[in-house]
Amino acid sequence: MESKSNNNNSGTPLLIIGAVFLLVLIGGWWFYTSSKSKPNPIAKNTAANTQASQSAAEIYANSPPGAQPPHILGSQTSPVIVEEFADYQCPTCSVKYPVLKQIASIYNNRIKFIFRNFPLVQMHPKAYDAAVAAEAAGLQNKFWDMQNLLFTKQAEWSASTDHRKLFTDYAQQIGLDMPKFQSDIVGLPAKQRVDSDLQRAQGLRVNSTPSVYVNGLLVPFEQMTVEGLRQIVDAELQRTGNSQNQPKTENSTETGQPKTGAENK
């Protein structure tokens, strides 16, 4: 009896299944095309935060100074300061790493590019160790080399169950004095630098990474592209009257990679 009624209904489940299949295809396609053109909501929030530029500039001026001297690329004295807060374990930071590297390279001594540690320890439990490893390398004048490895090999160490071993391998690759590195990654100076940067980030109420400030104003996330940053930096260079042919003397090395403030110490 029951099987008879089942036979009568035999087309219905297939209809439902077919309808859901079509719905998934159409809905999926609609979502795919619409999400490709839509700016993401977090970026919108960041942009909205930037609207309150007046108070943001005040907060920027009054925040803790961060690790001193900071890691600087470019000019020590340029009036145009590009300051990045990043987390080595944040995938978006590694995606944006080449963008900021390119900006530092394009403008070279016309801007002062500062890197700050902002490990989001609640979300990225290996990020603090990575920041300390970079700072320990910085104590041997190899901060940027270590940073390069940490960002470009993020997928490797981030998914590893022994990330500290990999940091040691990276230290070897960039030719660090290993006994010194081993003692620096557990010592206070490197940690204190990370903590100082963290205090600055907290003072600035940085809540996501990467966050980039140009002369105290937070760059909206969707503008964190080479073109977007160039527009902002060019405008600041013009505003400060620093856009034309700056002397390229300060801190430039022969390879074109400027030294950091920390490394000059």
Binding site: D87, T92, A159, F221
Partner: protein
């Protein structure tokens, strides 16, 4: 007996496959969202609230070049189809549904392990999927326990 869950005049347990189908739909929507996110993949900033980006951009977000979420979407669609067929009286489909759900639950346990102990970050959309799979598993076990009485 095994017919109980399909009897419309039973104690209401004929609704179990229908309930399972609705939950599978939720899981399907979640997995489709994650799959599309994988392909549109625009970077969003990392923030203090979610580790989603860490999880979704990890090496475990893909298997054999296919997004892990796409496997989930296929599994949920299959689970939905089997539950619908079962709800309309095809009892053998409920057993196949059960076998599928056991595989899904096992794989989910592995993904939770990866998030907790290897990637060390959790993505709420992956956790939603874990919850829907667990519910499907519980419903199936419940139907078996109920029927064996």
């Amino acid at each position: 007996m095994s017919e109980n869950i399909f009897k419309q005049n039973g104690n209401g347990f004929f609704k179990l496959p229908i309930l399972a189908a609705f939950i599978a739909l939720l899981g399907l929507a979640d997995a489709v969202y994650l799959t599309i996110h994988h392909f549109t993949g625009e970077a969003v900033p990392c923030n203090m609230v979610t580790g989603c980006e860490t999880v979704l951009s990890s090496q475990y977000a893909e298997m054999f070049g296919i997004p892990t979420a796409a496997f989930g979407a296929a599994a949920y669609f299959l689970a939905f189809s089997l539950a619908i067929l079962a709800a309309y009286g095809n009892r053998s489909m409920w057993n196949i549904f059960g076998a599928l759900v056991v595989v899904m639950a096992t794989f989910t346990a592995y993904l939770i392990y990866l998030q907790g102990f290897v990637i060390e970050a959790f993505c709420q959309f992956c956790l939603i999927s874990a919850a829907t799979t667990s519910l499907l598993f519980i419903i199936f076990i419940f139907s078996k326990v109920y029927n064996s009485r």
